[in-house]
C-alpha cells in the first residue's frame, strides 16, 4: 500500500502547446515551447531547474532527447515510458524527487510527435517476438467492451450507441471552448452516430485523434510554493498501477470494467483521503481514448454505481454544467493523444481551473481534481490516477 506524498509538493508553473498537426515543428520545437512557457509561468529561468523528467513513448530515447534541444548541460535528465501513462509517470518521478529533498525544483515534461509517421492510429514499436499476437488495433480492443456491457446491464445496442455518442458529443462540445485543442468544433449527435465504423460498434467519432503536442510542469516542495506564486496547485495523490494480465489469462474478467483503473483509483483516493469521489471531486480529466473507455471509467473510479454509468452519461452528470464535469477541456477526443504529453495536458486543465484561468470552461470554484490515464488494453493495462487540489489540507 502506498503512503503517498499528499501536500508535500506543488506545481508552480505550467506550459502546454496547442495540440494538433504540427507539420512545421518537430518534437524539439514542441518541448522547447512547453518548457519555456512553464518557466515563464513560474517566473523562473531555465538554469533554476535542478532535475528533469521527460515522458515520451516513441519520439525520442534517453535524457539526451531533452537535454540537447533545451541545452541542459550536465544535469540529471531521465526519460521515462509507461504507455499512455508516460506523461504522468514523468510527473510522478519529478514529484518524488522533490519530495525526497534531493532537489528543490524539477521539471516534468511530456512530448510526442506522432504525425510524422504517415500511418493511421498509434504505432507501437514492438520488440522482436514470435509473432503470435493477433493484429488487433487499439479501437478493436476497446470495441470488446460494448457488447459485454450491453449483456451484463441489459442495454440494447441502439441505446449503447447513443450513450457512446453522447460521451463524444460532450467532449467535443467542451473542446470547442478550448483554444489549445486539436478539434475545436462541436459535432452533432447525428454525425457521431453515423460516422464510418472502425471496429464495430465504434465509429471513427468514437475514437480519439492522432496529434502532436507537449506539456510541462515545474515542481517544488509545498513549503516553497508561495515563494513563486500565490496560487500553486498541490499534489494530493499519485498512483500508477500495472496489471498482471489476469484479464486475458483467466475468465473472471468480463470486459465491463477495468481492474487497473479501479485499483489505481482506490489507491489514489486513499492517498488523498477521498471517501466519496462523486461528491468530493470537482472535475476529472480521464482517458477517453475511445468512448467505451470513458463509460467504464465512470464506474471504475466510483463516479457512478456499477451499471449506472450509461444513465448518468445520458443525464448530463458529466457535462460541463453537470454535477461532476469530466474532460472539461475536451479530453482526448478534442486533443488527440500525443502519448507522452497527455497526462500533463490533463493536469494543465486542472491547474487553469484552480487558478480561475479556464475562460469559457471555467467551473465555479473547483477544489479537487483528478487525472487518469490508461495504457494498454482493457484486459491488461497501466493505469494512472492522480489527484490535485487548490488548497492544502
Amino acid at each position: 500500500m502506498s503512503r503517498g506524498i499528499k501536500d508535500k509538493v506543488a506545481i508552480i508553473g505550467m506550459g502546454c502547446t496547442n495540440f494538433g498537426e504540427h507539420w512545421d515543428k518537430n518534437v524539439d520545437d514542441l518541448m522547447i515551447e512547453a518548457a519555456y512557457a512553464a518557466y515563464e509561468d513560474a517566473g523562473i529561468s531555465p538554469e533554476d531547474i535542478e532535475a528533469f523528467w521527460l515522458g515520451t513513448h516513441c519520439s525520442g530515447y534517453s535524457g539526451l532527447a531533452l537535454s540537447s534541444p533545451l541545452k541542459i548541460d550536465c544535469k540529471p535528465v531521465t526519460r521515462v515510458e509507461n504507455f499512455c501513462a508516460t506523461g504522468t509517470e514523468a510527473l510522478r518521478n519529478a514529484c518524488y524527487a522533490v519530495a525526497s529533498g534531493a532537489y528543490d525544483i524539477a521539471l516534468a515534461i511530456g512530448a510526442e510527435k506522432l504525425k510524422d509517421s504517415g500511418l493511421s492510429g498509434l504505432v507501437v514499436v514492438e520488440t522482436p517476438s514470435d509473432g503470435t499476437r493477433p493484429n488487433y488495433t487499439a479501437p478493436s480492443s476497446f470495441a470488446f467492451v460494448p457488447p459485454a456491457y450491453e449483456r451484463k446491464h441489459g442495454l440494447d445496442s441502439k441505446t449503447m450507441k447513443e450513450v457512446l455518442a453522447r460521451i463524444a458529443w460532450k467532449n467535443h462540445k467542451n473542446g470547442a471552448l478550448n483554444p489549445r485543442a486539436h478539434f475545436r468544433s462541436e459535432v452533432p449527435m447525428e454525425k457521431i452516430l453515423n460516422s464510418p465504423i472502425v471496429a464495430d460498434p465504434l465509429g471513427i467519432m468514437d475514437c480519439s485523434g492522432v496529434s502532436d503536442g507537449s506539456a510541462a510542469a515545474v515542481v517544488v516542495r509545498a513549503e516553497d510554493a508561495h515563494k513563486y506564486r500565490k496560487d500553486p496547485v498541490y499534489v494530493k495523490a499519485l498512483s500508477i498501477v500495472c496489471g498482471s494480465g489476469t484479464g486475458i489469462l483467466e475468465q473472471d474478467f468480463d470486459f465491463t470494467g477495468i481492474h487497473e483503473t479501479h485499483m489505481g483509483g482506490l489507491d489514489a483516493y486513499r492517498q488523498a483521503g477521498v471517501t466519496n469521489p462523486r461528491e468530493e471531486i470537482s472535475l476529472a480529466e480521464v482517458h477517453d481514448c475511445f468512448t467505451p473507455s470513458e463509460l467504464i471509467i465512470y464506474e471504475d473510479l466510483g463516479f457512478s454505481e456499477r451499471g449506472k454509468g450509461w444513465k448518468d452519461a445520458l443525464d448530463g452528470v458529466f457535462d460541463l454544467d453537470g454535477a461532476l464535469p469530466v474532460n472539461p477541456d475536451g479530453g482526448l477526443k478534442s486533443f488527440g493523444h500525443p502519448i507522452g504529453a497527455s497526462g500533463i495536458r490533463m493536469l494543465y486543465e486542472l491547474y487553469l481551473q484552480f487558478q480561475g484561468r479556464a475562460d469559457k470552461r471555467q467551473l465555479d470554484d473547483p477544489k479537487l481534481g483528478l487525472t487518469h490515464n490508461m495504457g494498454g488494453w482493457p484486459w491488461h493495462c497501466v493505469a494512472s490516477v492522480c489527484i490535485f487540489g487548490k488548497d492544502k489540507g
Binding site: G118, L119, S120, G121, V123, E126, P128, S129, D130, G131, T132, P134, N135, Y136, T137, P139, S140, A143, F144, V145, P147, A148, R151, P196, I197, V198, A199, D200, L202, S244, G245, T246, I248, L249, E250, Q251, D254, F255, W379
Partner: protein
C-alpha cells in the same frame, strides 16, 4: 498386412463460382465452383487440416514418418513436413520429408510410406495438398482448385489393405513450372493425354490387375486422376470400367487439386466403401502409379471423418474474382497505412514452437489454472515454476466478446477478433477466419484452424485462428 489405417481431407470454405471468370474475361467457362484457399491458407495449412481430420480420435504416438506431397510447397528451401509435424503434435523422433515435383507425388509418397511401415518403424502419415495457379483467363485458372487429403498407413487396424502396385516412369513434358514461373505451363493436350495419361495409366492399371489376377469388372471403385472430366471418363471407359465404377473427380464442386486431387477422391471413396470392396487408385505425372486396395471389416470401426462429405457442402460462394486475385497476390493493391508487420524472430519461433505450432500453454500444478501463452508464475495462485504443458487443441471454446475491425489490415476484410474462453479454463484472443460476421455472437462455439497470420521478410508466420464450426 499393410495398408490404410485412417484417412482425412480438407476443402477450403471459400468457393469461386467459375462463371465469375466468364464475367471477368468474357470467355465461356466450365460449370461449377473452384475451391479457393483463403488468403491465410496454403498447402501447409491445408495439409494440417487434412492430417488432423485423418488422426482425429487416434493415438499418434507411433507415427514415425510424416511425408508431405505437394507441387506448391510454400518454401523452396525449408521443410514443410517439419511444420506440419509440429502443428499436429507428432513426436520429435518422426522422419519428416517433403515429396515434390510431380502430380504423381502423392501416390509415390504413399508407396514410400507403405515400404517404410513394412520395416516396423511404426505407422506413417502421408498428406497431399496443393494450391496451384493458372494464369488469368486460361483453362487452368478455371480448372484448378485447392484442397488436401491425408492417409495414415500402418500394419494394425488396416481399413484398406494394399494388395499390390505398379509404377511406370516416363520423361514426358505435359505440365511444368520452372523456378521463375508463377503459373503452370502445359504442352498441347492431345499429345500428353494420348501418349502420357492414356497410355501410361492404362499400362500401370493393366499390370496391377494382371499381378492380382483381376479384371476391371472385379474392381468396386476406380479412383483415377482426372486432368479434366472429359479425359477422365474416356480413359476409364477405354480401360473397361463402367461409369458406376468410377469415383467422381470432384471437378464441379472443387476443381483439380493437383497432387491432392486423386488422394481426395480416394478419401471420398473410403467414406462409402464396404468391407471386401476392391479400390484401384491410379495417378499420372511423368509416368503412372496404380495401387490396389482391399477394404477390410475395420472400416466399420473407424469413426466417421469429415473428409470430403463433411466439407463439400460447408461453403461460402460469395467471393469475387478480384478477391481471388488479391488472396493469391496476383494484383497490386494499395498498401495499408498501418505499420509493416515485423519479421518474426527465429529464436523466439524456435523457443515457442510447441506453444505456437502445437498450441500448448501451461497449467499450474497447484491450482490447475491453464494459461496461454505459457507462464512461469501462476496468474491465479502465484506458484512459481509449477507448470505442466497443457494442450488447448480439441478443447471446447466459446466467444466471450468480439468485434469486427475495419481498420486492421486483412486480405479478407473486415477482420473479426474474438475473446475466446476454453472449457476447463484459459482465455485467448484470436483472429477469426472463414467467418461471416453475422454468423457469430457472444456464446458462439468456435473451432480452431492452423493458418498463416502473416508473412514478413519471407518468413511465414503460422499460428491458430478461431472459426465458426463448419
Amino acid at each position: 498386412m499393410t495398408g490404410i489405417v485412417s484417412f482425412g481431407a480438407y476443402i477450403p470454405f471459400n468457393r469461386l463460382p467459375r462463371n465469375k471468370l466468364e464475367d471477368a474475361f468474357g470467355n465461356p467457362t466450365a460449370p461449377g465452383n473452384k475451391a479457393v484457399a483463403n488468403y491465410d491458407e496454403d498447402s501447409i495449412t491445408m495439409a494440417v487440416a487434412a492430417s488432423l481430420d485423418c488422426t482425429a480420435g487416434l493415438d499418434t504416438g507411433d507415427v514415425k514418418a510424416l511425408y508431405f506431397a505437394t507441387t506448391s510447397n510454400p518454401y523452396m528451401e525449408k521443410s514443410a513436413s517439419a511444420t506440419i509435424s509440429e502443428a499436429i503434435d507428432l513426436c520429435d523422433s518422426v522422419r519428416t520429408l517433403d515429396f515434390s515435383g510431380s502430380l504423381r507425388v502423392a501416390s509415390g509418397a504413399m508407396l514410400a510410406a507403405l515400404d517404410a511401415v513394412k520395416t516396423d518403424i511404426g505407422s506413417a502419415l502421408v498428406t497431399a495438398s496443393d494450391c496451384r495457379l493458372g494464369a488469368a483467363g486460361g483453362q487452368w485458372e478455371q480448372f484448378f482448385g485447392d484442397g488436401s487429403a491425408a492417409f495414415l498407413l500402418g500394419k494394425e487396424n488396416v481399413i484398406a489393405a494394399c494388395d499390390g502396385s505398379h509404377s511406370i516412369s516416363a520423361d514426358i513434358v505435359s505440365l511444368w513450372r520452372g523456378g521463375e514461373d508463377q503459373f503452370v505451363r502445359s504442352w498441347e493436350e492431345r499429345f500428353y493425354i494420348t501418349k502420357g495419361y492414356n497410355a501410361l495409366v492404362t499400362a500401370a492399371v493393366n499390370e496391377v490387375l494382371k499381378k492380382a489376377d483381376l479384371k476391371p469388372a472385379d474392381i468396386s471403385k476406380l479412383i483415377l486422376y482426372a486432368p479434366s472430366p472429359r479425359y477422365h471418363a474416356s480413359l476409364a471407359r477405354s480401360m473397361g470400367f463402367e461409369p458406376g465404377q468410377v469415383q467422381d473427380c470432384l471437378f464441379n464442386s472443387i476443381g483439380n487439386t493437383g497432387s491432392a486431387s486423386a488422394p481426395m477422391m480416394l478419401a471420398a471413396s473410403l467414406e462409402t466403401a464396404k468391407p471386401g470392396d476392391k479400390l484401384l487408385f491410379a495417378t499420372f505425372g511423368e509416368g503412372a502409379d496404380a495401387i490396389l486396395f482391399t477394404v477390410t471389416e475395420n472400416i466399420e470401426k473407424l469413426p466417421k471423418r469429415k473428409a470430403i462429405s463433411g466439407h463439400i457442402e460447408s461453403k461460402l460462394e460469395t467471393m469475387t474474382y478480384e478477391k481471388y486475385l488479391n488472396w493469391r497476390s496476383l494484383i497490386s493493391m494499395e498498401p495499408p497505412r498501418r505499420p509493416a508487420m515485423q519479421q518474426p524472430s527465429a529464436p523466439a519461433l524456435y523457443r515457442n514452437r510447441k506453444q505456437k505450432l502445437s498450441f500448448y500453454g501451461s497449467r499450474c500444478l497447484a491450482c490447475k489454472t491453464p494459461h496461454f501463452p505459457r507462464q512461469r508464475i501462476c496468474v491465479h495462485c502465484r506458484s512459481k515454476d509449477q507448470m505442466e504443458d497443457y494442450s488447448f487443441l480439441g478443447k471446447k471454446a466459446k466467444i466471450k466478446t468480439f468485434t469486427v475491425d475495419h481498420l486492421t489490415y486483412s486480405k479478407d476484410p473486415p477482420m473479426t477478433f474474438a475473446v475466446v474462453d476454453f472449457e476447463g479454463g484459459g482465455r485467448v484472443i484470436f483472429e477469426m477466419t472463414d467467418c461471416v460476421p453475422d454468423s457469430i455472437d457472444i456464446g458462439t462455439e468456435v473451432d480452431f484452424t492452423f493458418r498463416k497470420l502473416f508473412e514478413a521478410g519471407g518468413i511465414k508466420n503460422y499460428f491458430w485462428k478461431a472459426m465458426p464450426k463448419r
